[in-house]
């Protein structure tokens, strides 16, 4: 209820905003038709100080207003703000966007605003003039798609994607165009004046599929990766194909008749446009990568290169009238890998955020204006034409998928079932591109308004009807949902474990047989490309490079962090509280406890293979938290086994005890975690820090930055993804990392490196079992929770704690494999 009221307020605010802009706009424009003439002179006079010279010649004006001077940027800002507010509004009440796609909501709001504008006879801003849309609105969206393209699954499916995108779009355009032309022959409908070229032109407009809404639904339901990537890729390359077709048909539409030579030229042009776009993309991508090789001294402007080069690729492609969409996509894919390795971590973050931000705002605006323009534009309504357009669009899409899938299926390792095909065809919504193209139709076409109306009808029909109904239908089709209430903890754990196993086996089998080419490219890449494009071109394993980055950031963060950074403390306290509560009923589990356990399990277990997760929600940045976390664990364990005894001197060092436990609570259970951390950090972190003049504070402190480090990169994603944030992402790496590494790590290379494990005490099973009880005894139930700064009880000598908590990790380890058992011994 509260949220709904929030939405209401937000809407009110929006309207106010928009009225504010509009009223002023009214004042400034006496007649809408003479808009530009009135503005122009003012723009020319911008340098002259006096605004209203004829009012009072003698006196200096105390208060002046020069609205026309700021009109364009001012209104633009207001529109952007309005759209952004709308976006905030949707996500306040979270459930709306689950059932109704965001694009629907945006269009609806646009319709409302359009209605208001229409009632006050206001002209919509001229966003959908060709140049503005194609030069300013489209590039950010495409850049975002290209930059965050999930490369691996995409290239695994590239054949299918291209097949659907190219042939499917051709199929749709020609099919719809011809059928509509056939319809036009009937006299009863009164549309005989539409000739074949115009029909084809129109068909090429509405055959562009926009996958935004469908993708969000697919993600929520958990559709398999193949369908997902096919829809995604189709949406991308569709754009390219459609733009080509459009320009081709638009050219042909002007000609009185078409001979066969023109068709061949059209085909040739098609390849020129496509291949040319890709070539330009490569060119600029490599140049961009090469440029960033030298930017390490000008970190401030590093991100700029990405945007400028990709925009340049886009513009140059436009210049030669080849596929600018393909150019910018190729450019982004090409440069991403190298650029991200060249630029600093912060620049990389900036790039990602800005790309996302621009794309989101651009797309929001487009849908929003779609609603506005629907109301304010002139329509020509023809029942027959529009109904048949809807019908044919639907039928040809379905038929196309069916036929094309039959052809492509034998070549696929994982074939599309009929359910998949239904999902593919039903997911074919029409969107922004279609809309923009309709508005850029040349005025020479006599039924232009009819085409615009029909396009809008198709868009609104597909976005609203299909977009809303696709979720229930897909959920009905494949019943993948598991009812969690019935499950026991065992089931939850085991099921997840099996999923991990299966995904691991999938990796192992390597679903696809592209490995030959992949291998070839990798070699080429390592030998030549990396050497040219990267500043630091030694091939590193992902673990090492990640680790380096982390260490670096860690150090920076540590220096930056003020001494008393307590931001982490409350969470530890609350965690502790919860833990105390959770651990109390040792043998009997209350229903609440079980629920809590389920909660913990479902929230914290690693998501299976986040390959799709990362990019599915269009508006969020990919999250690398989990990957990192696992890598960090691995690496930490490796490091620990490499430096035997490094922690030992550390624990004997002169860390003030009060600081050591400074955020620890009387319950004391956490101390096992802290002690472990301290030891493992002893070698690398503290030594390095000491040499850099920083006093080693508590181990818990040195971990605070690690956690914050994660937020740097993912803070935006947290903010930008309220729709999906019901399920928290994987936890930030850093809190208990090293707690884990015992079992995971030494099994990592069990046979290779029987180095002495850095453990001081051997321990046995019994200790492990008694551990929690022992640790709790001094304070359980007696002391209230202290604020974190309080010094801990004196009685805790870390030396006493060590064996116990080593016991927590060690016995498991010794059970796990022979090799590590030996190492455990030798370390003690």
């Amino acid at each position: 209820m509260g949220t709904q009221r929030g939405v209401g307020w937000m809407l009110l605010l929006l309207l106010l905003c928009c009225f504010g802009g509009k009223c002023e706009l009214q004042e400034s424009k006496p007649s809408t038709t003479t808009d530009f003439p009135t503005i122009k002179p003012f723009h020319d006079e911008i340098n002259e100080p006096q605004a209203f010279p004829e009012q009072e010649r003698a006196h200096l004006p105390v208060f002046t207003m020069n609205y026309p001077r700021i009109q364009v940027p001012f209104e633009f800002t207001l529109w952007v703000l309005l759209a952004s507010f709308a976006k905030i509004g949707f996500h306040i009440y979270h459930k709306i966007t689950i059932w109704i796609p965001e694009s629907c909501l945006l269009i609806s709001i646009g319709l409302i605003v359009g209605g208001i504008m229409y009632s006050v006879k206001e002209e919509p801003p001229a966003v959908f003039d060709t140049t503005i849309f194609f030069l300013y609105m489209l590039p950010p969206i495409v850049l975002d798609n290209g930059y965050f393209m999930p490369t691996r699954p995409f290239f695994e499916n590239i054949g299918t994607v291209l097949w659907y995108a190219v042939v499917g779009t051709l199929w749709n355009s020609i099919g719809i165009g011809l059928s509509l032309f056939a319809i036009c022959q009937f006299e009863v409908f009164g549309i005989q004046d539409i000739n074949l070229q115009e029909n084809l032109l129109f068909a090429s407009i509405i055959s562009a599929v926009d996958p935004v809404a469908a993708l969000n639904v697919f993600e929520d339901i958990g559709v398999n990766e193949q369908i997902y990537i096919v829809i995604f890729g189709e949406g991308l390359f569709n754009d390219a194909v459609t733009v080509v077709l459009y320009s081709m048909f638009a050219f042909l539409a002007d000609m009185p008749q078409v001979d066969s030579g023109d068709v061949f030229l059209g085909v040739a042009r098609f390849f020129v446009v496509g291949v040319g776009g890709i070539l330009f993309g490569f060119l600029f991508g490599f140049v961009a990568a090469f440029t960033t090789r030298f930017t390490h001294n000008v970190r401030q402007i590093e991100p700029l290169f990405v945007f400028m080069y990709s925009y340049l690729a886009y513009l140059v492609a436009e210049l030669f009238a080849i596929s600018s969409v393909l150019a910018i996509i190729t450019c982004a894919i090409t440069m991403k890998y190298y650029v991200e390795e060249n630029v600093s971590q912060r620049s990389c973050t900036t790039i990602r955020h800005v790309v996302k931000m621009l794309a989101t705002i651009s797309e929001t605006l487009i849908f929003f204006f779609l609603g506005v323009v629907t109301i304010t534009t002139d329509h020509e309504w023809n029942w027959a034409y529009i109904t048949f357009t809807l019908l044919f669009a639907f039928i040809w899409r379905g038929l196309g998928i069916l036929v094309l899938t039959q052809i492509i299926n034998p070549f696929r390792t994982i074939q599309f079932t009929f359910k998949d095909q239904f999902g593919l065809s039903y997911g074919g919504l029409r969107g922004a591109i279609c809309f923009a193209l309709a508005f850029t139709l040349p005025n020479t076409i006599n039924r232009r308004n009819l085409f615009v109306t029909a396009s809008i009808a198709v868009i609104i029909f597909t976005v609203f009807i299909q977009g809303i109904s696709i979720r229930p239908i897909l959920e009905y089709l494949n019943i993948r949902r598991t009812n969690k209430d019935l499950n026991t903890i065992n089931v939850e754990v085991h099921t997840r474990m099996m999923e991990h196993v299966v995904s691991g086996i999938e990796d192992l089998c390597g679903h696809w047989s592209h490995y030959y080419w992949k291998d070839k490219f990798k070699k080429f890449n390592d030998r030549i490309l990396r050497r040219i494009l990267l500043r630091d071109n030694r091939a590193e394993s992902s673990i090492v490079s990640l680790y380096k980055k982390l260490e670096l950031q860690n150090a920076i963060e540590l220096l930056d962090t003020p001494m008393g950074d307590l931001s982490a403390a409350p969470s530890i306290v609350s965690l502790h509280d919860e833990k105390m509560e959770a651990s109390r009923p040792k043998k009997k589990f209350l229903a609440a406890d079980v629920r809590k356990m389920h909660d913990i399990l479902s929230k914290n277990m690693y998501k299976i293979r986040q390959r799709t997760m990362a990019y599915t929600n269009k508006y969020t940045l990919p999250d690398e938290g989990q990957t990192r976390e696992i890598l960090i664990r691995r690496h930490a364990s490796v490091r620990r086994s490499i430096r035997p005894g490094s922690f030992r001197d550390m624990s004997a060092q002169n860390i003030p005890r009060s600081q050591k436990y400074y955020s620890l609570q009387p319950g004391g259970n956490l101390e096992s975690a802290f002690a472990l951390r301290r030891r493992s950090h002893g070698g690398g972190e503290v030594d390095r820090l000491r040499s850099s003049g920083v006093l080693p504070r508590s181990s818990s402190h040195s971990l605070v930055p690690m956690r914050r480090l994660n937020t740097i990169k993912e803070a935006g994603s947290a903010g930008g993804q309220p729709a999906t944030s019901a399920r928290p992402r994987s936890p930030p790496p850093g809190v208990d990392i090293l707690d884990e590494m015992g079992p995971a790590g030494s099994r990592f290379r069990p046979r290779k490196a029987p180095l002495p494990a850095p453990r001081r005490h051997s321990s046995n099973w019994a200790e492990d079992d008694e551990d929690p009880d022992d640790a709790e005894y001094p304070s359980r139930g007696v002391e209230p929770v202290h604020p974190p700064q309080l010094p801990p009880p004196r009685g805790w000598a870390p030396e006493n704690q060590d064996p116990r908590e080593v016991g927590a990790g060690n016995p498991l380890l010794r059970h796990s494999s022979q090799g590590s058992r030996g190492s455990g011994r030798s370390g003690s």
Partner: protein
């Protein structure tokens, strides 16, 4: 597409393997290609490091368990037949082409699948999932936000749920029962259950 370089006659004992595992020739061929790809130094055998080089597997929280499942104890390498035999556990069991009767049990039966999973937990191969073993897996799978305490109580709870004979560990039979309660994704075709002692190896 199947590159022509490797064909069925490169694979040793292809026929037997197909019979034993139920893989089709195409499957086997692809697996062989994959095997060769993984086998960087062309020894005809895979070492744990070869598996570790797979990116996805390195990121799998229980990847090292999966890897070690391919290696029988004391063995450093795995050859192609054993590789395929392990993978055969993962064939969907709806499509069994094996003739009924003579063969004791197809490798992809529900019981065998479960046993494979069970052995991923049961690292010391004593036929029981002890609390420590469960904890270990939990720790690998759960994010690091979870405290040791919570882990322990979860493990405790899981064992309590499954433990029928009160020995504070989950035997294979108990493991199987727990899984049967659930709506398991794999089709629960009723196979003749293995004798419990076989689970222990």
């Amino acid at each position: 597409m199947g590159s022509s370089s490797s064909s069925m006659d490169h694979i040793p004992n292809a026929e037997e393997l197909m019979q034993e595992t139920g893989f089709s020739a195409a499957h086997l061929l692809r697996l062989y290609e994959r095997f060769e790809f993984l086998d960087k130094d062309q020894t005809g055998e895979l070492r744990p490091e070869d598996f570790g080089a797979i990116g996805g597997l390195a990121l799998n929280p229980i990847g090292d368990r999966i890897i070690s499942a391919f290696f029988s104890p004391g063995q450093e390498t795995v050859d192609f037949p054993s590789f395929v035999r392990v993978l055969a556990h993962f064939r969907p069991n709806g499509t069994n082409r094996t003739r009924n009767g003579t063969q004791q049990e197809p490798v992809n039966s529900r019981t065998r699948k479960l046993k494979f999973a069970f052995q991923l937990y049961d690292q010391d191969r004593d036929g029981k999932i002890s609390r420590a073993e469960l904890l270990q897996v939990l720790r690998a799978m759960l994010g690091i936000q979870v405290t040791e305490e919570q882990l322990q109580s979860i493990a405790e709870r899981a064992i309590q749920e499954a433990d029928l004979d009160r020995d504070d560990a989950i035997s294979f039979d108990e493991f199987k029962k727990v899984q049967q309660v659930s709506p398991h994704p794999q089709t629960p075709t009723k196979e003749t259950p293995l004798h419990p002692t076989e689970g222990g190896r």
